[in-house]
């Protein structure tokens, strides 16, 4: 959020990292930071078009326009997804993995247009940003990527250290292998990446 509002500069942060990190840690940090510049450059190229699908969706699934009430209120009934909404609304901040998981849940499982999610993020995130947010939502939705992004329960459990999965009794919609979920969510295999 400090980057978003210019309180920290990208070059300033990169220079700081170069003085503190080494090897793969430094390379990965700088690669992640470069995503922000990439999104800014796409915004400079495309202008207001970043709020339209930049590419056709990669499946024939239809999306609804409105954010469902249970999602807005964090009453989904899934401990993980409700925690993601709580972090967004209460703290104005979500971990990057949570942003991706929430976006995938909303677009692919709930079949809501990515723009409804983008507006929800813009309202609450302290670092809400046209370039990074709109284009990340499009990346998840598959309108600015070769393939939509989605995850499964194993991925959530692994990268959250089992925070929500241990002891969870909900009927988990994320359970399954990727091929199985791909069929369930998109009606068949997605196009291969070029």
């Amino acid at each position: 959020m400090y980057l978003r509002h210019g309180m920290l500069g990208m070059a300033e942060l990169a220079e700081y990292a170069r003085g503190r990190l080494r090897g793969r840690d430094l390379a990965e940090f700088l690669r992640q930071l470069t995503w922000r510049e990439y999104f800014l450059r796409v915004l400079a190229q495309e202008g207001g078009r970043v709020l339209e699908n930049l590419e056709p969706p990669k499946s024939a699934v239809r999306w609804s326009d409105e954010l469902p009430g249970d999602v807005r209120e964090g009453r989904i009934g899934l401990p993980c997804a409700d925690a993601w909404v709580r972090h967004l609304v209460r703290d104005g901040w979500m971990h990057n993995h949570e942003r991706l998981w929430f976006a995938a849940y909303l677009v692919h499982w709930r079949r809501v247009d990515w723009r409804a999610g983008y507006r929800f993020f813009r309202e609450h995130l302290l670092d809400g940003d046209l370039a990074s947010n709109a284009l990340s939502w499009q990346w998840v939705a598959g309108t600015f990527s070769a393939k939509p992004y989605f995850m499964n329960q194993q991925n959530i459990e692994k990268y959250s250290a089992g925070r929500w999965c241990k002891g969870c009794t909900a009927d988990c919609p994320f359970m399954g292998e990727y091929a199985e979920l791909e069929h369930r969510l998109f009606g068949g295999p997605l196009p291969e990446r070029p």
Partner: protein, 163 residues
Amino acid sequence: MNAGVWMHGDSLSPTDPALLGVPEAPALFVFDRPFLQAVPVSFPRLAFMYQGVRDVAAVRPVELAVGDIGAELAAFAARRGLEELHVTRNFTPTWEETLDAFCARCPQVTVLVYEPELLTRYPGRVRRFFGFWKKVEREVLRGNALFGERAGPLRYRPGPPAR
């Protein structure tokens, strides 16, 4: 030259290039009322931005306004007798519209635009991140862009009037 700075939502730091360009000049930050009336933005987010404005105001003169940005900039220019308005480039599409509106109101004021700090000097178009990363990886990892000469501000040329 009597100069002022437009601080926008991407430039809330005393080290913003436009603020550094004219260190003694007063700055203006405007909460965009028409935008905020049309788009819900949570109070904590507005408070966070306000804190950023206060941090800059702790080290130099800053005015804060709520209203239409173009109109508030014009009023700021009149109040301060500005001959130059300095601003750091913002990639949001409405940024140019705002400057065009200001230039239409205050054609006597020269607008000078500073480039924001970026990691690379890559001049081409971008498509997928992976391709972009392959082109800029070496420059980003080495940090060459950090040590080059910073270009001076460029004079802003307003676009054609909207029909």
